[in-house]
Every structure is written in C-alpha cells, then in structure tokens.
Symmetry: C2
Subunit: 209 residues, 2 copies
DNA sequence: CTTGATCCTGACCTTTTGGTCAATATTTCC
DNA sequence: GGAAATATTGACCAAAAGGTCAGGATCAAG
C-alpha cells in the first residue's frame, strides 16, 4: 500500500528517515502515541519540525512506519524454532532469545505494548493475518512434538502467549520490577534462571508417567 | 496529603464523583492518560466539562484519585493468601483469582498497565513502598513453604511477577490474544486450565526426589 | 419561604500541537 | 559553474484540549 523501500533514496533521505524513526521510537515508547509530540521527535532526531514532516507526511505515518518496520525484528525469533531440533531445547532457546530482546530492545517492546493496549489501531489486520499465520505455523510444530510425546501436553497457543507475557513483562513493567526487587538485583539475569526452570518443569516429559 | 473520604459529602457529590471516576476509568484505560480528554470523561459521566472540573480540580487529580482508589482492589487478592493453607492450593487460588480479575476488570488492568509503562509517574512512591512491602510479606510466606519443602524451590519474587504477567496479559493484550486465537475460543476459560497446569507442574514437589 | 451553601454552565482564555507554506539554502549532476 | 532537484526553516494557521469564571439554578435547613 504505502510506498516502501523506494529504489531511489538519497543518502540524506536515508539518514534522516533513520534519525526520525530512531527519535520516534524513543518518544512513542516512552509516552505512547498520543503522548509523544512531533517536536519531541524532531528534537531527538536533531531536525526541525517542518523538516520531520517533510520526510513523513504525518505523525501517524511515522508511527505506522515504525511499527511495520520493527515487526519483522520483533517476530523473527519465532522463526528460529527448528522443527527438527530437540523440542525442549528449541522452546527454551526461544524463551531465552525473547528475554534478551526485552533486555536489549525495551523500547520496541513498549512500543508494541502501547499499540496493543490501545486496541492495535495500526496493527489489527496484521494481528489477525500475518501474526496469526506465524503463530499457527509454530503451533503446528509444537503440536507435533506433543503428539510425539516429546513435550508435555499443553495448549500450544497459550504456551506462546505465556512466553510473550513472561519475557515482555520485564521490559514493559521494568519500573515496577525494579521497584519491587529493590537495588542490588539484576532482573534479567534472575529472570533467565527463573524462566528456564519454569518452562523446563512445565514442558518436560517425565520418564515415570 | 490529598483530602480523602471527607466525613461530609452530599449525596450529589458522592454520586457525581462516582460517575466521573467511572467515566475516567473507561477513558484512561482505553486511551492512556494523555490520550483521554476531559471532554470524553465528562460525556461518559453525563456531566459538563466545567462540572467535572468542579469536583476534581484537574485531569491529573482525577487520574491520581482513580489509581489510588483502585490500588486496594487490585492488590487485595495477594492478601488472600493464607499462610496456614496448603501451599500449592494457595498459589493456585491466587492465580485463579488474579485471572478472574483480568476477566472482570480489564479496564483496571489496562489503567495500571498504562501507568507502569509510562514509568509510573503517579505511583512510583507506592511501587517502592507499600507494594514492595506487600510483596515482601508474601515472599516471606512463599520462602517458608519452599524451606519446608512444600513448594518447589523457585525465586518467590519472580514467581509473583510471573503470576502478574501471565494473568494480566489476557486483559492488557486482549486484542492480540483474540486475534491470534480467532473466533470460537474463550481465552479466559482456556487460560484457566493452562495456567493451573503451568503453576502446578512448576511448583509441585515430586515425591521421588 | 427565605437564605446561605451547593451545584451547574456558557462563554472565554491560553497553551499545546499537528500541520502548511512560501522562501531560502544546499546538493546533485550535466 | 549553473540549472534543476532536493533539503530546510521561520512564520503561521487551525483545532484540540486543559482550565477559569461570573453568574444563574438548585438544594438544604431553619
């Protein structure tokens, strides 16, 4: 629909669109769509407001571009699940990767959190479309593993939800996590251990059963 | 600090403040603080904008009142954990109660989600104060149970985080959950089963170990 | 039924903010 | 080096939104 990756783009365009999206990521993830202002984005990008509007026609367009651009990065780890791998290892690796994404890309996590909280006005088609299909693929793999008795029988879709919820929680609610833990804690390091144990115990197929 | 539960309050005051807070809950939980407008709140409450401002001095005050008022409701279930009860039952009951809160009070869940996402500007003292103490109390109970070998050894604080994350996910990300599941699913009914199984398997102390 | 307190509102003010535009600067490319 | 394309901005606009206020309506109490 929207023009994307135009073949022709000057270096200046490339650089400035980059700067704008980077600034917008900070602004939107900190304040939500309504809370962020074009002025904030412009300042973060080191550009003037009209100049920002020169590259993106509207605040909405910046937001939409940002979301669609980052969606691939965000969903990539799920594609990393190897259907031929050892089931438990594959799931645990996915969990670990997602947790690291929360640690390394908390702004992205919050950006999506805001969007979905709001009712996903810019992502609704994607949620029921591409995302759903991607989940369905993964669910098929998980279901097969369960069928083969190599993974404890759990609802695969809710398994995926729980991975998302548990890992993104540490980015989206970081303030709360840190406040409750108090100083002297590394939330992500602790979470890594906790979550590995959680999913291992839930999904392991005990010999004696 | 702020005047609360003044002994004297006319029926009109009582009713209108109620209406305003109810309308504000809808507005704030749907759009976040910045996204909600006093006009929206006024309309939802069936009052004029100046009239809303007559009862609450500012938008900020409405928000703060709402948060502090609802916090008790929101945290109450944690106090329901009985230190003398059967450990696993107590935890599972807490999980189930929290999940029902997400189902029955999704607006409240989203209200807090927005607030924490934003960095909890109106709750920061509470997070590191009352909430933390409340968590510490519960952690003490859980730690004792683990010590007594009646619960599998897990980090109690992260156990609490995981309960929050997993239950509130169904309210905060409801759009996503429904989009991915597609029609013909009852997210909460399925979650109830899934989560009970999850926590049971994680926390159960197997005999043969 | 009167009077003081409470309640309510239309009109208005100010700030913020998304967005426009004409004019100017800069870059590109022949 | 100069024309055409591209990039940039100060000034401005209109709408949205938080908040004020004087005055009128309504209610409670004696």
């Amino acid at each position: 629909m929207t023009d994307e990756n135009q073949p022709q783009m000057t270096r200046i365009q490339q650089k400035n669109r980059e700067l704008i999206l980077e600034g917008a990521l900070g602004a939107f993830s900190a304040n939500g769509f309504r809370g962020a202002t074009i002025d904030q984005i412009a300042e973060a990008a080191g550009l003037s407001k009209p100049n920002v509007l020169y590259y993106f026609g509207s605040k909405d367009e910046i937001h939409k571009t940002l979301l669609t651009t980052l969606l691939d990065l965000w969903l990539a780890p799920m594609l990393g699940i190897d259907p031929e791998g050892e089931p438990l290892d594959e799931v645990l690796r996915y969990v670990s990767t997602k947790l690291q994404m929360s640690r390394d890309y908390p702004r992205e996590s919050r950006l999506f959190a805001y969007e979905v909280l709001q009712g996903a006005p810019h992502l609704s088609e994607i949620l029921g479309g591409r995302l759903r299909e991607l989940v369905d693929q993964t669910v098929a793999i998980l279901a097969r593993w369960i069928d083969e008795g190599r993974l404890a029988p759990v609802d695969p879709r809710h398994l995926i939800f729980s991975i998302w919820a548990l890992t993104q929680h540490y980015a989206d609610f970081e303030v709360q996590v840190r406040a409750v833990l108090g100083p002297g804690h590394d939330p992500y390091a602790e979470a890594e251990i906790y979550l590995e144990n959680l999913f291992r115990r839930m999904l392991e197929v005990e010999a004696g059963r």
